[in-house]
């Protein structure tokens, strides 16, 4: 159900690790729950982020929700596509709907994240 090569947070973000870079987004559970996403507010490239802290926000037709960074580090890229087509998050949450890339300052942050099975279990699924 949830990609096995990713890590997850209890606040429904996913992480794809490549070297010292963490690509982050929100899970299909989160995007389904929010409904049609109409705006994504992402951090600036170069901004520092802290694990567990708010990094941005996501607005759907139903609610505004926080985007929490799963890891600490520096934002090295954001997905500019989401500015014009925020619905990409709903359509492809683990691919084209990625939100930001973080150069990790503390890779041990990954140890606190959930694997796919644990994340799915946390949803009651």
């Amino acid at each position: 159900m949830y990609p096995g090569d990713l890590k997850y947070t209890s606040t429904h973000e996913w992480v794809r690790v490549s070297g010292d870079t963490a690509e982050i987004g929100i899970t299909k559970y989160a995007s389904d729950e929010l409904g049609d996403i109409v705006f994504v507010d992402l951090p600036e490239v170069g901004a520092p982020v802290q694990a567990g802290a708010v990094a941005g926000s996501i607005e759907s037709v139903k609610a505004v929700a926080e985007l929490t960074s799963p890891v600490s580090g520096e934002i090295v890229a954001v997905n500019d596509v989401l500015g014009d087509t925020p619905e990409t998050v709903n359509e492809d949450p683990y691919g084209a709907g990625w939100m930001a890339k973080v150069k990790m300052s503390s890779p041990s942050d990954l140890d606190r994240l959930l694997d796919a099975a644990a994340y799915e279990a946390s949803l009651g699924g």
Partner: protein, 245 residues
């Protein structure tokens, strides 16, 4: 609006200690509230102010709402009050039970909108131009517009209930002078077939929540601590005057 944020942060700060809170209020002067991410158009803000309206930014999403001849409600709860992890739509459905009961007390049958215009956003700047599945409808027309924000295990849901037909004023303010009145909207007066005062509506909302959730609400005074907290959030809801206005 700043008080809604202050109440939300009280729940974030102490979810076990801060009880669920229901608030009803009106605006003086009437005010336009913009959605959290809604772009501020300087010409629009000038028009709001020229018409004598205040302007604030909501912490919740959606589009502009004119708070004129209406009643605003807000509910702040910790997610933990629900018996199990609750989805966004489930929480809307639950909290809306209080509003549905309130409207029933006024003789109005209401239900969660099926997404009258779909859940897709129309191009309109105005909230009441379409209904999402978090809104309430009467006879297929939107009667309550609501929005949520979720932060750190706390939920603020608030919304607007038009008491009388003010669609022309709404269109003039939100869409521009001479714009077509927004369709698909019904006021409490029209739905009930009579005039409903603010005080009667406020009483119905309180009684509706008490009846829907089998509880007794206790009045909570706005103490200095809460008002002080409210001041701290004012900058977050303020919309600055456009250049040259």
């Amino acid at each position: 609006m700043a008080l809604d944020l202050a109440l939300l942060h009280e729940v974030i700060r102490a979810p076990e200690a801060a009880p669920p809170c229901l608030r009803v209020y009106s605006w003086m002067p009437p005010c336009v509230s913009l959605g959290f991410h809604q772009r501020v158009d300087a010409d629009d803000v000038r028009r709001y102010r020229r018409l004598g309206y205040g302007v604030v930014r909501r912490p919740t999403g959606g589009r502009a709402v004119l708070h004129l001849a209406e009643i605003t409600y807000s509910v702040v709860v910790a997610e933990s009050v629900f018996r199990r992890p609750t989805s966004v739509i489930e929480s809307y459905a639950c909290l809306s039970l209080g509003l549905i009961e309130a409207l029933a007390l006024l003789g109005i049958r209401a239900e969660l909108a099926p997404g009258i215009s779909g859940d897709k956003v129309t191009g309109s700047k105005a909230c009441f131009a379409s209904a999402a599945r978090c809104d309430l409808a009467h006879g297929g027309r939107k009667i309550v517009g609501s929005a949520q924000v979720r932060k750190k295990g706390a939920i603020l849901q608030h919304g607007s209930i038009p008491l009388v037909d003010r669609r022309e004023a709404e269109a003039d303010a939100l869409l521009g002078e001479g714009a077509q009145p927004i369709a698909g909207v019904v006021s409490v007066a029209e739905a009930a077939g009579r005039t409903v005062s603010y005080s009667e509506a406020a009483g119905a909302i309180r009684a509706g929540f008490e009846r829907a959730f089998s509880l007794s609400l206790t009045d909570m005074p706005l103490n200095e601590e809460l008002l002080g907290g409210c001041e701290a959030f004012r900058p977050l809801v303020r919309v600055g005057a456009p250049q040259g206005s």
